[in-house]
């Protein structure tokens, strides 16, 4: 059991220590959600700074702000950070905070494993970024193509930080995936059949499967790379008959499901926000759900559309091209259903709705350029050009980030108990929308007039100067929009309007409990009759069928009967041991062995923490 340091009770030091300790040993999914969200936002800012430096370098031809080597490190770390340390953990913060609330549960299935997942994430993120401090940030692109990544062509440790950092982050994601799959299947409130789950839960559910099934492929790819770099194997060595394409296949078998991991949670958020602010149920919810499942499944079959230029041959090219075009269908179905949800609705234009509308528009644009890439002959011109950079920023920023901000503004009052400021929210939205489009729309043009990706500068007579300058100005507008968001947070976190349990007249269970929720979430376990259970409780079904019925008020006895899991320090200790072991690969074999032993011992302690003591021992 977790113990507390013996400080004089009542002193400031004791209070400070116990607050810090409570956060380090928390197994409360809500706190873990806050930890993920805060960390994600900090890394998002770091990734943003990396982007701004790149844009400043590219604003003018023949610029000398940063060297080519530094630029390589910047685009590598920007991509890796935004994907693994910003968007994924932001999604994870919503999984953590909202999944139990929306399924009517008091906790997740494995609270300590959940905490472990966060601490391993943080260890991986810090390990990866420590490379900046050592002057050897990864420089092989976020996709680390072989055999540039071999120790022949990348002899220094830059690639090792990337390779090992991603392994650590992968463990974190997989552990979280196992936890949420079991939670969603096994801990739904009585009456909540699978088809009565909110659509955000469904999209999160599909995402968890993508996480646990896609990461093993990159785990293997990275293991093969590690063996090549450290132990002389020949997996990616052309001179021995090895094929660098093996890396590309393994990477993209992971990498394509990964982009659905990045977008599905945001789609789930939009599927909650639109009905709430249109005061209408999600149109065609079963179709949206099945489309999400189809996207998840098909997403495993399209990976080589990232490889149309490597010479796979017409059969492979055609197969992946057809599969990629097919996947546009369920995506389109969702977009039409979202629009149909708004049609005829009683729209309340609040910040969450604006961001969701922005998501629909921007993601659709990104999807259109994506469908163009699905054609191999067209892609042969577009690949490795700024056209692709434009495409994926439209879907990942215009899509995922806008969707996640919609969720932030939507669920912030539930998490914090206070509303964010509406006016500042709208300033944030409009500046971000304008800045985003000014930054990335011109990149379509730059791609089509020949500007390649991943170049640190360009000659002045190529015709690229104007749009690069425009794009950089857009980036600075984006920065301004984020500053406004930060001001909004600072301004309202302690003194914003009190939200109450249900500031938006919501439809789902999380709005039926206080803001912020008590540690046990629900004093009385809800019973569910509908996807929009809370709406049903407030208003009935509107057809004279089910009347409005709220559950009875909780009593002190109800609350006293609730048992929540105890805090534990084993998650953070085990995460430290794992990080120590893996980083040992860059230091010495003794550290790896010591770390490995510690990992095994701490795994045992973790597993035995709640096991019965030996007979004859008191407790």
């Amino acid at each position: 059991m977790a113990t507390q340091a013996a400080f004089m009770p009542g002193t400031e030091a004791a209070k400070r220590q116990s607050v810090l300790w409570s956060w380090l040993t928390t197994v409360d999914h809500k706190r873990i959600g806050i930890l993920y969200g805060t960390s994600a936002f900090i890394f998002f800012l770091i990734g943003g700074i990396e982007a701004v430096i790149m844009r400043l370098q590219l604003a003018r031809p023949d610029n000398t702000l940063v060297s080519a080597q530094t630029f390589n490190e910047l685009f590598t770390m920007h991509g890796t950070t935004m994907i693994f340390l910003a968007v994924m953990p932001l999604s994870a913060s919503f999984f953590n905070y909202m999944i139990p609330l929306m399924i009517g549960a008091r906790d997740v299935a494995f609270p300590r494993l959940n905490a472990l997942s966060y601490w391993i994430f943080l260890a991986g993120a810090l390990f990866l970024n420590s490379s900046w401090l050592l002057g050897m940030a990864p420089d092989g692109g976020w996709f680390g193509y072989a055999n540039l990544s071999s120790d022949q062509f990348s002899p220094a440790m830059n690639i090792d930080f990337w390779m090992l950092g991603l392994q650590i982050l992968g463990f974190s994601s997989m552990l979280a995936g196992f936890n949420f799959i079991v939670t969603i299947i096994n801990m739904r409130a009585p009456g909540m059949t699978l088809m009565r789950m909110p659509v955000f839960i469904w999209m999160s559910f599909v995402t968890q499967f993508l996480l646990v099934l896609a990461f093993p492929a990159i785990t293997v790819g990275l293991i093969l790379l590690m063996f090549d770099r450290f132990f002389g194997t020949l997996f990616y060595m052309p001179s021995a008959g090895g094929d660098p394409l093996l890396w590309q296949h393994l990477f993209w078998i992971f990498g394509h499901p990964e982009v659905y991991i990045l977008i599905l949670p945001a789609m789930g958020i939009v599927s909650e926000v639109l009905p709430t602010f249109a005061r209408k149920p999600l149109f065609g919810a079963p179709f949206v759900i099945f489309s999400g499942i189809t996207i998840g499944f098909l997403g495993f079959g399209v990976w080589s559309h990232h490889m149309f230029a490597v010479g796979m041959g017409p059969v492979a090219d055609s197969a992946f091209s057809i599969a990629t075009m097919l996947i546009a269908v369920p995506t389109g179905v969702k977009i039409l259903n979202w629009i149909a949800t708004l049609w005829g609705g009683s729209l309340r234009f609040k910040t969450p709705l604006y961001f969701s509308l922005g998501f629909i528009a921007m993601f659709t644009m990104g999807g259109l350029s994506g469908v163009m890439h699905a054609s191999p002959p067209v892609d042969l011109q577009q690949t490795d050009s700024y056209f692709v950079v434009a495409h994926f920023h439209y879907v990942l920023f215009g899509g995922s980030i806008f969707g996640l901000f919609s969720g932030i503004y939507y669920w912030w009052p539930k998490i914090n108990g206070r509303l964010l400021d509406e006016r500042l929210g709208l300033w944030h939205f409009w500046l971000m929308l304008i800045g985003f489009n000014v930054t990335f729309f011109p990149q379509h043009f730059l791609g089509l007039i020949g500007m390649p990706r991943r170049i640190y500068t360009y000659a002045p007579d190529l015709g690229w100067n104007f749009w690069n300058m425009v794009s950089t100005i857009g980036a600075l507008i984006i920065v301004l929009s984020f500053l406004i968001f930060i001001v909004n947070v600072i301004k309202t976190i302690r003194s914003g309007t009190v939200a109450g349990p249900d500031p938006w007249d919501g439809r789902t269970l999380e709005w039926s409990i206080p803001s912020p929720p008590p540690v046990y979430n629900f004093a009385i376990e809800p019973v569910v009759h509908d996807r929009d259970e809370f709406w049903l409780q407030k208003y009935g079904d509107g057809h004279g069928g089910k009347p409005a019925t709220r559950p009875r008020a909780a009593t002190a006895q109800d609350i006293a009967a609730i048992h929540m899991p105890a805090p534990s320090y084993w998650p953070i200790l085990l995460a430290l041991a794992v990080a120590f072991m893996i980083s040992g690969l860059l230091v010495s074999m003794y550290q790896v062995i010591a770390g490995g032993l510690l990992t095994l011992i701490f795994m045992y302690k973790f597993a035995m923490e709640h096991h019965r003591p030996a007979p004859g021992h008191g407790h």
Partner: protein, 111 residues
């Protein structure tokens, strides 16, 4: 105790007996013997050998999963959680082999 009740609940779907386990073990032994023996059949065509080995390995696989791992008797949720990923893994193996022209090297397999 809650756990033994839970164990009973979890096994309410049926249970293999020790007899069944022994039978499965015998079947596994026979299959393994046949597998190894088929390597030594003189003049066996390649396609037949490969097919036979895959079929026998597949049978062993399903015997262990179905009976020893109890999946035959368990909830369909558990089945789905394993069989789905297994299916995707097999597809990935086949796709990788096709992309690396592994099938062209094996006679009598047309892509």
């Amino acid at each position: 105790m809650a756990e033994s009740h839970a164990a009973a609940v979890a096994h309410s779907g049926g249970h293999a007996s020790i007899r069944t386990y022994i039978n499965v073990a015998v079947a596994l032994t026979i299959l393994t013997t046949l597998e190894v023996a088929s390597l030594y059949i003189p003049g066996i065509p390649n396609w037949l050998l490969v097919t036979a080995l895959i079929v026998m390995a597949g049978l062993k696989f399903f015997l262990v999963v179905g009976f020893f791992m109890h999946l035959r008797y368990d909830s369909s949720v558990m089945r789905a959680l394993f069989v789905g990923p297994l299916f995707i893994a097999i597809l990935i193996i086949l796709a990788l082999m096709a992309l690396f022209s592994a099938f062209i090297l094996l006679p009598h397999h047309v892509l």
